[in-house]
């Protein structure tokens, strides 16, 4: 399941919702991204996340479907927020549940790696020098390349 929303989410409720009643799940791996108050050398007060409505949902659904093609998964969840976020706020949740622990770890890692390079979100950070668009990181491209699939449009 994927969700793109402005409001916060309750991590416990979301993860419980994935596994409740499914006794075929042996492992549930999740990753939550949070707003740090320090990015690079700049102190971050807050940030605003812009996105591309429509394409965002489409991109996340594709990434989720690819994970299900690669691993035997019982459930997956991607939630990504947009709008204004403060340090400590949750930005994103990805989670994968499987009978087996390795599959849940790998799929969860895959979800966030591809989300980082394919989902159309852009961060505008408040810095002491004014608002600043965050630059994409080469390390994110490297993270995706590791999965043995080259996305040559990014």
């Amino acid at each position: 399941m994927i969700r793109v929303q402005e409001q916060d989410f309750d991590l416990g409720d979301e993860l419980r919702g994935m596994s409740d009643g499914n006794h075929g799940i042996g492992g549930l791996c999740s990753f939550v991204g949070l707003v740090r108050d320090m990015a690079g050398d700049a102190n971050i007060g807050a940030m605003t996340l812009e996105h591309y409505p429509g394409m965002t949902e489409r991109a996340l659904e594709e990434i989720e479907a690819e994970a299900h093609d690669r691993w035997p998964l019982e459930a997956t969840l991607i939630i990504h927020r947009y709008g204004r976020l403060e340090p400590g706020d949750q930005i994103v949740l990805v989670a994968a549940a499987s009978a087996h622990r390795e599959a849940s770890f790998e799929a969860c890692h895959y979800l966030i790696d591809f989300l980082k390079t394919r989902a159309p979100f852009w961060k505008l950070e408040d810095t002491p020098d004014g608002p600043k668009w965050v630059d994409a990181r080469a390390s994110d491209d490297a993270a995706v390349a590791r999965w043995g699939k080259v996305d040559n449009t990014q």
Binding site: G33, Y52, R118, A119, P120, W122, W133, N152
Partner: protein, 84 residues
């Protein structure tokens, strides 16, 4: 007609989030379209200053600059994504 969308600093430079454009005769690829857009004014020239910095999606799919465009397409320009 093309639907054009701009995001993040590309939007700030073009000065608009979306617009419609009659598909010009000499435009068959995204690269052709960028050439046309650059000529629309300083903000556009600035937005498309460097091909390396701008990404494009046609009909909500990431594509390369050699991708074809045709009437009815939704073409979006934006910086490399930074979500997650």
């Amino acid at each position: 007609m093309l639907k054009l969308l701009y995001f993040a600093w590309v939007r700030e430079r073009t000065g608009t989030a979306s617009e419609e454009l009659e598909l010009p005769d000499n435009v068959s690829t995204v690269a052709d379209l960028i050439t046309v857009l650059r000529a629309k004014g300083d903000g556009y020239a600035d937005a498309f200053e460097s091909d390396d910095l701008v990404r494009v999606a046609v009909n909500q799919n990431h594509v390369g600059f050699d991708h074809k465009v045709q009437a009815g397409d939704e073409v979006a320009f934006f910086p490399p994504v930074t979500g997650g």
